[in-house]
């Protein structure tokens, strides 16, 4: 499986964020996207996820299921965590499992793996920022998709949580998955780096 971006350009609000951008990620590989604030890290992830139209260029995923689009094979973990405060942790997670296609791990197992198994019955509104992040990570486990698009996955997490993210990413890569992660710090796994906005 191979994800490639060809000559991508992104224009936001009439201003060119990046252009002529190309990258390739193969199965079992992770690509860290770095760059200063506003360099277009999040925009690039949203373009790959199909949530933003590129001004030019294209993104292709080869060697995956033909009948599914790129967006349908990707998990997107953005800044906004898509959790409903009025629903319990378990209800939030089971909704996303049903919605995203649920041939993944068991709900309770995933919650436990992300370190919030004890909070399953709690409304998500009571969770801390870090716990919400962990719940979002659990979403990646309950539904299996080969491509993970992570936007600063370690933000708001404690040291333990950062190790957890590194471990989950490692397991995903070992299964042959692909990861693209926008980040400012080290991710704790072996990655290649795509530097955005290098030239001032």
């Amino acid at each position: 499986m191979r994800l490639s971006g060809i000559d991508l350009a992104c224009v936001r609000g009439g201003r060119e964020v990046f252009s002529g951008l190309g990258f390739e990620v193969g199965g079992g590989e992770a690509l860290a996207i770095t760059g200063r604030n506003g360099a277009g890290k999040s925009s690039l992830l949203r373009i790959i996820a199909g949530l933003l139209r590129p001004a030019a260029g294209a993104v292709r995923l080869d060697g995956a299921k033909e009948e599914l689009s790129l967006a349908e094979q990707a998990h997107y973990l953005g800044h906004r965590d898509a959790l409903k405060p009025a629903l319990t942790v378990k209800e939030n997670l089971s909704f996303w499992r049903d919605m995203l296609g649920g041939e993944g791990e068991d709900l309770a197992e995933s919650l436990k793996a992300c370190g919030i198994g004890h909070a399953a019955g709690l409304p998500a509104g009571y969770l801390s920022a870090g716990q919400r992040r962990r719940l979002s990570m659990a979403r990646l486990l309950v539904s299996k998709r080969p491509l993970w698009l992570l936007d600063e996955p370690t933000s708001a997490l404690d040291a333990d949580g950062q190790l957890l993210v590194a471990r989950l990413m490692g397991e995903h890569l070992a299964r042959g998955g692909l990861i693209m992660a926008a980040t400012h710090g080290p991710l704790g796994i072996v990655t290649r780096t795509l530097q955005l906005g290098a030239s001032p």
């Binding site: 996820a49 199909g50 949530l51 933003l52 599914l68 967006a71 349908e72 990707a74 997107y76 953005g78 800044h79 906004r80 965590d81 898509a82 959790l83 409903k84 405060p85 009025a86 629903l87 209800e91 909704f95 996303w96 049903d98 919605m99 995203l100 296609g101």
Partner: protein, 219 residues
């Protein structure tokens, strides 16, 4: 699709959900009306169906505002777009949930409010029936407006401006069907079938239009 309907219904009925707000608003509008119009029972009876319909229209606008904005604000909409279910079906599911959570309670409340407006049993039943056939059209046309206004701050006002003109046919035929029952010798079936037709057109056009608007507004 079932998952989305179930989630939206749960959200509507939990604390902070919009379902009860819609009914309470409906109740308030209708209860205030006799005070404004005065104690003329004959006049109230004649205005009754129109008042009930206006109340239903306004309260459905009130709850439509949050139909997509809530999901857009917390990022759920991104994931719904990326799910394997087509966006059109997701829109239909959201419309269905909205109608069940805020349209049906209006219909249930109608008999009690009919008493306040001096409507007899037949007229109340007619209003409830027309609301049953007409509120899906209100939800579905309103959904298109909600999808267009989703990315805008304070989109609620724009929603009203967009949706109210589109709701006029529903209002006309809904009230016409009710009046046909109150006054003798006017056909009841014709406006009622047009009302049902409006809802059916809404089922076909609404989800497609809303999904197109959402795709356009993604950013």
């Amino acid at each position: 699709m079932r998952a989305l309907v179930r989630r939206d219904l749960r959200l509507a009925w939990r604390a902070g959900g919009g379902a009860l707000i819609g009914v309470l608003f409906f109740l308030t509008v209708v209860v205030l009306m006799p005070f404004a119009v005065g104690p003329d029972l004959a006049l109230l009876k004649r205005l009754g169906p129109a008042i009930l319909w206006l109340g239903a229209l306004l309260s459905s606008l009130l709850t439509l505002d949050r139909l997509f904005t809530a999901d857009h604000d917390d990022g759920s909409l991104d994931l719904i777009v990326m799910s394997r279910q087509s966006l059109e079906l997701s829109c239909l599911a959201k419309a269905l949930a909205h109608w069940l959570a805020s349209g049906v309670p209006l219909i249930v409340a109608t008999p009690a409010l009919g008493l306040l407006l001096n409507l007899d049993f037949e007229a109340t039943a007619a209003v409830a029936l027309t609301l049953l056939l007409g509120t899906p059209a209100l939800t579905l046309t309103g959904m298109i407006g909600a999808a267009l206004a989703v990315t805008l701050r304070r989109g609620g006002l724009l929603l009203a401006v967009l949706v109210l003109p589109l709701s006029i046919p529903v209002l006309i035929f809904g009230v016409a069907a009710c009046n046909a029952v109150v006054t003798e010798g006017v056909a009841f079936g014709a406006p009622l079938s047009i009302l049902a037709a409006l809802s059916l057109v809404g089922v076909v056009v609404g989800p497609v239009a809303a999904a197109a608007a959402l795709r356009q507004g993604l950013d």
